[in-house]
């Protein structure tokens, strides 16, 4: 029990529960099955991105190009498949998008390894390269007619149910992809040497190198994997929206990072859990969703997320302030 009380995820779950009950009391529409399915669907794309961000943050880096990678993979995949009039399975689209994402992620990894500069600034540059390339050389028009496989995928649901109103609701199938990704990332971080390497790199890079981790290889995995996940997330986004808009996704980076930080991941590395990140994403999605349901104008959204981020990191900082005199904490 004491172990439970000491955990960040526990507090997060408590806050989430209280919030859900409070909103449910204020507006019963919040707790309907339809809205819960909707929340799950909304948290899928953000959650997929967040899993990638979690890995990067845990390793002590920061990647803000993931949204640009997602938009790039999603748009290029859709345009390519349309160009060849592809009629086959959606999994080909996913394969293509994740390969494009992987390639862009590896571009990040190479840049970071060559430049040896803060990852924030490197990925700031690569993000504008990806986005600029996409919009300047590939296209700016929205693809409204997606390949048949992607449309079919977006219609696929689980736990289908027909309401009294005649409306059919169900859990979007893409949520299964999210669950798979959660299990995969949790497995890698917890049970593999690679995962330990990621924590070690974030905790103390020099110590990690001395105990024999090949840091370069770990970094290539991290940024490549983030790219791959972002590609998948981008395609899920296109399927959900039923169009491929090259202007989408970019601009959401900071709320994803905020969600992961909210979930207890340390931005200086070495700390972070999948459960925390998933809860953090859900909290942000609930806040955004509830503002609408509670009738609060949407321009309050930024204030709410900004306030939540600051409060959360401030509380974390105050709780661990035993190290006040360690100069490293001023970095």
């Amino acid at each position: 029990m004491r172990k439970l009380l000491g955990q960040h995820e526990f507090y997060l779950a408590m806050i989430l529960t209280v919030l859900v009950i409070a909103i449910g009391l204020a507006n019963p529409a919040f707790l309907t099955r339809a809205n819960l399915f909707d929340l799950c669907k909304s948290s899928t794309v953000m959650g997929l991105f967040a899993l990638g961000v979690l890995i990067v943050l845990t390793s002590g880096g920061i990647d803000i190009s993931f949204a640009a990678i997602g938009a790039f993979s999603m748009y290029v995949t859709s345009r390519l498949l349309l160009a060849v009039d592809f009629q086959g399975s959606v999994w080909v689209a996913f394969l293509l998008a994740s390969l494009i994402g992987l390639a862009l992620g590896l571009f990040n990894a190479v840049s970071i390894n060559v430049l040896r500069l803060p990852t924030l600034i490197v990925t700031l540059g690569s993000a504008s390269v990806f986005r600029g390339f996409l919009l300047a050389f590939i296209g700016t028009s929205i693809v409204n007619r997606l390949p048949a496989g992607m449309i079919a995928f977006s219609r696929r649901t689980l736990f289908e149910q027909t309401l009294a109103t005649g409306e059919t609701i169900g859990l979007s199938f893409s949520f299964v992809l999210y669950l798979l990704a959660i299990v995969a990332v949790a497995f890698v971080l917890r049970y593999t040497l690679l995962g330990r390497g990621i924590y070690a790199l974030g905790g103390n890079a020099e110590a990690a190198e001395r105990v024999g981790f090949n840091l370069r290889r770990v970094q290539f995995f991290i940024y490549g994997f983030v790219g791959l996940l972002s590609g998948v997330a981008g395609l899920v986004h296109a399927c959900t929206m039923r169009n491929a808009n090259p202007f989408d996704l970019v601009g959401t980076e900071l709320s994803v990072i905020a969600a992961v930080v909210l979930g207890g991941a340390s931005i200086t590395g070495g700390r972070g859990t999948v459960l925390g990140a998933v809860l953090g994403v859900f909290l942000i999605v609930v806040i955004n969703n509830s503002l609408i349901l509670l009738g609060i104008p949407s321009y309050w959204q930024k204030v709410a997320t900004g306030g939540v981020i600051i409060a959360s990191v401030a509380i974390t900082a105050i709780r661990k302030d035993g190290v006040r005199h360690a100069a490293a904490s001023w970095r």
């Binding site: 700031l124 990806f130 900071l254 930024k302 990191v313 970095r331």
Partner: protein, 341 residues
């Protein structure tokens, strides 16, 4: 990381014009800037190298330059201020709310009051950042990421997403007027640059900032009051952002909650191009001057090329974004090579 001795020799040396120019990075940067300038002149014969274009550039880049100065100060201490654009827009709004009050009637106190309100708002925002970073020990990236959302959000709530426009003509002159042919915003930027230069090169505060960025552990043990130092840095960063905000609203005659979001990337790009060490400790105002000129020439030059196809494609705003990103990565790669040799 630079050693203490480097800093000391830098400070012992009197910054004569020649010693400033002979520092390797600045010479390289001068070459880059000149190349970009000449290249754009060659690509746009008879249009780029005209008095009209040069003055129009002089009206455009000061905002970016002031943002870059602000980012440089935060980078020198080893942090970063991502909230500058949010602060500028909020400060601009504070001024705009007072300015639109006058509503056509002459209002002698409105303009000074508006300027004071903007600067006060921006310093307050900066102090909030400083408290979060210095006193609560939140990592600068995170703290300013949060306040960026917060400030932009507050601006959205205040305006409900609409522009607050229409100011007295006297105020608009601040961003559109000229003295003896020199654009006023350029003069404001040069003023800010001079102040930052004096601060960094001639005051003990500047020296302490650089020490903090170079080696925070040493800074703690040499008895620097880090919290106050960080508080002042971010207050100053905020103040500069506020000045940029004033230039923006007087030039465009409107204040908006989400103006200029692409400025953040550009300002970081200018600072890195200028040779500011993103790990802290080093940065020069001369670098910022050259880098902002290079970026503006590139930007204006590409704008002129917009209506003719280049290598089979038309140039648009996204070509610029792409070019900036490539430039940022390229310059970092070059700096890396220079450091390695």
């Amino acid at each position: 990381m630079r050693q203490m001795s480097d800093i000391q020799t830098d400070c012992d040396r009197r910054p004569t014009a020649w010693s400033v120019l002979s520092r390797h990075h600045l010479v390289r940067l001068l070459l880059v800037t000149t190349t970009v300038f000449i290249l754009m002149g060659v690509l746009n014969p008879g249009r780029f190298l005209t008095w009209r274009n040069v003055t129009s550039m002089g009206f455009q880049f000061p905002e970016l330059g002031v943002f870059a100065l602000a980012i440089m100060l935060s980078l020198i201490t080893g942090g970063i201020d991502l909230s500058v654009i949010g602060v500028a827009n909020l400060a601009g709004l504070a001024a705009a709310f007072i300015l639109v009050r006058s509503d056509g009637q002459p209002c002698p106190w409105c303009i000074p009051a508006a300027i004071c309100a903007a600067l006060l708002a921006s310093v307050t925002c900066g102090l909030i950042n400083g408290v979060l970073i210095g006193y609560l020990h939140i990592t600068p990236i995170l703290a300013t990421l949060g306040t960026m959302q917060l400030f932009t959000g507050i601006a959205f709530v205040l305006t409900k997403g609409q522009a607050v426009a229409g100011y007295p003509e006297t105020f608009q002159r601040l961003g559109n007027g000229a003295v003896f042919g020199v654009p006023l915003p350029l003069l404001i930027f040069l003023g800010c640059a001079a102040i930052v230069q004096v601060l960094l090169a001639r005051t003990s505060l500047g020296l302490r900032l650089q020490l903090l960025g170079t080696n925070p552990v040493a800074a703690v043990y040499s008895g620097l009051r880090i919290r106050r130092l960080l508080l002042r840095t971010y207050a100053l960063t905020g103040l500069l952002a506020g000045v940029a905000g004033l230039i923006v609203i007087s030039r465009t005659n409107a204040a908006k909650a989400d103006y200029g979001s692409s400025y953040l990337l550009q300002a970081v790009l200018v600072a890195i191009l200028a040779g500011v060490d993103p790990k802290g400790g080093f940065g020069t105002v001369w670098g910022i001057l050259l880098a902002v000129l290079a970026l503006q020439s590139l930007s204006s030059g590409l704008n002129m090329l917009r209506f003719q196809p280049v290598i089979g494609t038309y140039i648009n705003n996204f070509t610029k974004e792409f070019t900036w990103g490539v430039l940022l990565l390229l310059v970092m790669a070059l700096n890396r090579r220079a450091r390695a040799t």
